[in-house]
Symmetry: C2
Subunit: 321 residues, 2 copies
């Protein structure tokens, strides 16, 4: 729910191509029917399939290593920052939402930081969309934002699986400042932390190729050590994708999160009033552009205007504090 | 002479690896002898091999398609901007320089813009270094800088060939502003110009892989459409590298230069005093960091302190106006 929701239903007939020319997955998929017939649902939250409401931490529909990774990441953040976070107070129809035909469903989880905390909020989500080709698109993400009392980077991870053999991973500590103008910031958070070695670890896998978001703005907000990759296991032995997630993506993601928790969420930085204003302006721009690029156009087509407005409204509220 | 001179002689025994962990080529090579015995030469400029002074536009030692591309690019810039450029007034021992053993030689070409021009200066160079492994490293580059009367991007191309089957290409219109804070700038120079389609064209070649500079600062100064690739033709038919340079790199580089000339060097932009100060500060930082990363540590070891100081001094002078 961070950088990959765009143009979800743009093409009337979908093609499952993760070419570098497409921003994000959502630009490559259509709704199950050539002319979407999606109606907003305001029924009580329940699973379209079995009437059981799904929870955020269920991370349904994804493989066990993928689910375990997400559960571990969310648990690690929540345990470490426990005393700094308010409970999630989102209404049930935001914590779990779906369209009437049951082809698209999702979950949103937001916990704001207490006013004394450097953490602004954490935002987790999963999204499941059935594809007309018979498969499904599954996106899981976790973002953790700090506030303007620190200039440390935010945390972001997003896994996008469109088939058993295709996975996109976006993992980054997103910078809060123009790294060209602040080389000492680059050194502190990106050179000294040796974040690039994590990127290199994954790059060495033969199944890994770089992933270029077709939204140039998204490329701009990431750091020079950002991990934006496509994993393709076509032709490999069954279970290879699970193996890659478990033995390669999982440890890398956890190490990156550990660095963020130690150096960013819990590190002390001096920020004066002018810097604070700069951080607020820059963060604000990124957040509004991200919502616009990410889900602004895709969610209404996926879930209908009512549900889309509800979800986007909640996100805007979190983003704008 | 722009973004790839770093740590040239760091390792006593060289290894020709273009791994993503090494910034730039120069980090991967050593001098011909395990303990460099390089002496500064202050003799009149003459070729170490045949006593004929080499000229900038000779682009010696590289393949015909590579040389033709560089000649065409320099000619195109100089013809188009002719009336705006002063002649090159560099002393002969900067226009052509070499170490006493003749294992390293290079050429520098700088033409400043007239005060009425938006062009600050153009800087071309080639460098040839014999490698202890028997091959040679050849770097050719062309940068074109605009001044603070416009906020349009600079132009940069660099080709680094370390063997007949290995080429690194860096091609970019380098942004002058933080693209996160100036999305309309991103749109004008990077989205509307469709620069990313050029990157995609080269990315499709099976011999092409992304190239990551090990200097994170270098990654920060490039644009989201920058072309930073490694071409490897190991195992391909003889002549494949020349074919790639002639039929793929050449047209892409010329199209990028055409966009720069039309939209940047010759486009009109309104820049107020505050913006001008911002551009000068940001440009200044990039230039000083680039010299430091690029040639500051490698040139003294390659050419000895006297020649290195002379070349670096001339570059600093051009950069600092």
């Amino acid at each position: 729910m961070a950088v990959v929701f765009r143009h979800f239903l743009k093409s009337p007939l979908p093609s499952l191509s993760f070419s570098s020319s497409s921003l994000c997955l959502l630009s490559s998929f259509s709704s199950p029917s050539p002319r979407p017939q999606i109606f907003a649902s305001s029924l009580p939250a329940s699973s379209p399939m079995d009437n059981t409401p799904r929870k955020f931490m269920d991370f349904p529909f994804v493989t066990a290593p993928h689910r375990n990774l997400m559960i571990d990441l969310v648990s690690t953040v929540e345990n470490r920052l426990q005393s700094q976070l308010k409970p999630c107070t989102l209404p049930p129809d935001v914590q779990y939402y779906y369209n009437q035909s049951g082809t698209s469903q999702g979950s949103l989880h937001i916990r704001s930081g207490h006013s004394s905390s450097q953490v602004d909020f954490i935002l987790g989500s999963w999204l499941h969309c059935e594809l007309p080709t018979g498969g499904a698109l599954n996106i899981t993400s976790l973002s953790a934002y700090v506030n303007a009392s620190t200039d440390a980077p935010h945390f972001l991870i997003e896994l996008i699986q469109s088939s058993p053999t295709s996975l996109i991973l976006i993992l980054d500590l997103t910078p809060r400042k123009d790294l060209v103008l602040y080389p000492e910031y680059l050194q502190t958070f990106y050179e000294n932390t040796r974040l690039d070695s994590l990127r290199q670890t994954l790059e060495k896998l033969p199944e890994v190729r770089p992933y270029y978001s077709s939204a140039l703005y998204i490329r701009c907000i990431t750091s020079p050590t950002s991990i934006m990759i496509r994993v393709n296991t076509d032709g490999a032995e069954p279970g290879r994708m699970e193996e890659i997630v478990k033995h390669h993506v999982d440890p890398v993601a956890k190490e990156a999160l550990g660095i963020w928790l130690d150096q960013c969420a819990c590190g002390q930085r001096n920020v004066d009033e002018a810097e604070k204003a700069y951080l607020e302006k820059r963060d604000g721009l990124i957040k509004s552009k991200t919502i616009e690029i990410d889900i602004g156009s895709s969610f209404p087509r996926l879930f209908g205007p009512d549900i889309a407005n509800r979800i986007i409204g909640v996100m805007r509220e979190a983003y704008e504090g």
